[in-house]
């Protein structure tokens, strides 16, 4: 099954970039973005699976999709407010 993803405003390839790390880079993009825009971050860090959805829930944005790829995951988040 393929997931239908929204148009992505900005994609961040944070694979292998331990510092500042995928979540920090995603927060930076969402801070700078406009309400309604979707952002994507690619992460090879297993911790992202819990860290990214936890922040998205806390900050009340929308977790659109988590897609497994070969050796990494793709997280898509929409800025909700």
């Amino acid at each position: 099954m393929t997931t239908e993803l929204p148009a992505i405003t900005k994609s961040i390839d944070a694979r292998g970039m331990a510092c500042p790390g995928p979540l920090m880079s995603l927060i930076g993009a969402i801070r700078a973005g406009a309400v309604g825009e979707a952002f994507e971050v690619l992460s090879s860090d297993a911790g992202s699976r819990t860290d990214i959805p936890a922040w998205v829930a806390k900050a009340k944005h929308e977790m659109v999709a988590v897609v497994d790829e070969q050796g990494y995951a793709r997280f898509v988040v929409r800025k909700a407010h």
Partner: protein, 378 residues
């Protein structure tokens, strides 16, 4: 005719690229560094200045003294780059044509982007800021100290954690600890982005009674009410707020249409080339790579940029690629430090904080001027 290489910015990355290219290419190229200040600033020192542990004079040197003799230095700000005509325009009207251009203009801080930040908070991200904070710490008589982050990306991701531990130590030495509360407002769900490093640091914070408030990305400061609010919807009170200000890329690159919305250069993670202009390279803080904005990153990127430009000039196939290598120290206070070393393929596994890493950092701070700009540390 020798190839013309122009380097914008004489900081860590620009100085090293220029020296490596001139050494490598000799008469095959002319290398020109354009830097607005003509002074090279060792920014990690701001932290020590703010804490009253270092003199501001130690932090800056004349850029000319750090460049090889055959590198030309133009002390003037660049106003614009025209990638089609391949020229750099200077603010006083002069132009410098190039065959290959290196963007090493670093980042600038834009405090005004956060409401209340200028009036309500301190930081150690510029020399002025560090001197003002030093004065605020000198006259501080105890209270609530909060340390946080008001913009992403920012230089040197471990700096807020380091500063928190060092401020706590300072308050203890001044006999103010029992009258003070120290809180780190972390943008993430732990003290520091690198999880194994967080696992080393958090118990130290706990032992020293430092509070950790997680998922707190500073959105605004109220200087009258003495509160800081987060974009996650929380508010804390403070007597002394020390907040990392937002950063942007250099204005010259924005005015030239060479960057993204944040002012960062779209850069290939392996070749360090501008994704739309093959004759333009970028390194250090200027790139849009989601890697730490640190002198260490610029230092390890510089040989790749130099080698790839040298190949283009000599007409050989460029071989070297950036592997994402970064190495930095993390001071944990009480004379101890750990080290973070990683690349795209190897995540960091920081050692237990020890005196050895603290001394390594100290030695590095001392030896910076005679090693890093010249490429003596590989």
């Amino acid at each position: 005719m020798p190839a013309r290489v122009v380097v914008l910015g004489g900081g860590v990355g620009g100085t090293l690229v220029a020296n490596l290219l001139s050494k490598r290419l000799g008469r095959d190229a002319t290398v020109t560094v354009v830097d607005g200040s003509g002074m090279h600033v060792y920014q990690p020192g701001f932290l020590y200045v703010a804490l009253g542990q270092a003199d501001a004079l130690w932090l800056a040197r004349d850029e000319r003294t750090l460049l090889r003799k055959d590198v030309e230095l133009v002390v003037e700000n660049a106003a614009r780059v025209d990638p089609t005509a391949q020229v750099v325009q200077l603010v006083r009207g002069g132009t410098i044509p190039y065959d290959h251009l290196v963007l090493a203009t670093g980042s600038r801080i834009v405090r005004e982007q956060i409401p209340g930040l200028v009036a309500g908070a301190h930081d150690f991200y510029s020399l002025d800021g560090a001197l003002r904070l030093r004065e605020a710490l000198r006259t501080f008589r105890g209270g609530r100290v909060v340390i946080g982050v008001a913009g992403i990306p920012y230089k040197c991701p471990p700096a807020p954690v380091e500063f928190t531990l060092m401020v706590e130590e300072l308050l203890r030495h001044k006999g103010l600890r029992s009258r003070s509360q120290v809180t780190l407002l972390s943008p993430l769900n732990r003290a520091f982005t690198v999880e194994p490093a967080s696992k080393l640091v958090q118990p130290i914070m706990e032992k020293r009674g430092i509070e950790l408030q997680t998922f707190f990305n500073v959105e605004s400061v109220d200087p009258d009410k003495h509160t800081v609010s987060s974009l996650e919807g929380e508010t804390v009170e403070y007597d002394l707020a020390i907040l990392v200000p937002p950063h942007r890329g250099a204005k010259v690159l924005e005015d030239s249409g060479l960057v993204d919305d944040g002012g960062w250069v779209p850069t290939d993670r392996a070749t360090l080339q501008h994704t739309a202009h093959e004759r333009i390279f970028a390194l250090g803080d200027a790139t849009d790579l989601p890697i730490s904005k640190s002198g260490s990153t610029a230092h390890f990127e510089a040989p790749i940029v130099a080698s790839r430009i040298a190949s283009l000039i000599k007409g050989t196939a460029p071989r070297e690629a950036y592997t994402g290598r970064v190495m930095c120290f993390l001071e944990t206070g009480n004379g101890r430090a750990t080290a973070l070393r990683f690349d795209y393929a190897h995540p960091p596994t920081p050692p237990t904080p020890s005196r050895m890493w603290h001394w390594a950092k100290w030695a590095f701070n001392r030896a910076y001027w005679i090693t890093v700009p010249q490429g003596r540390i590989a």
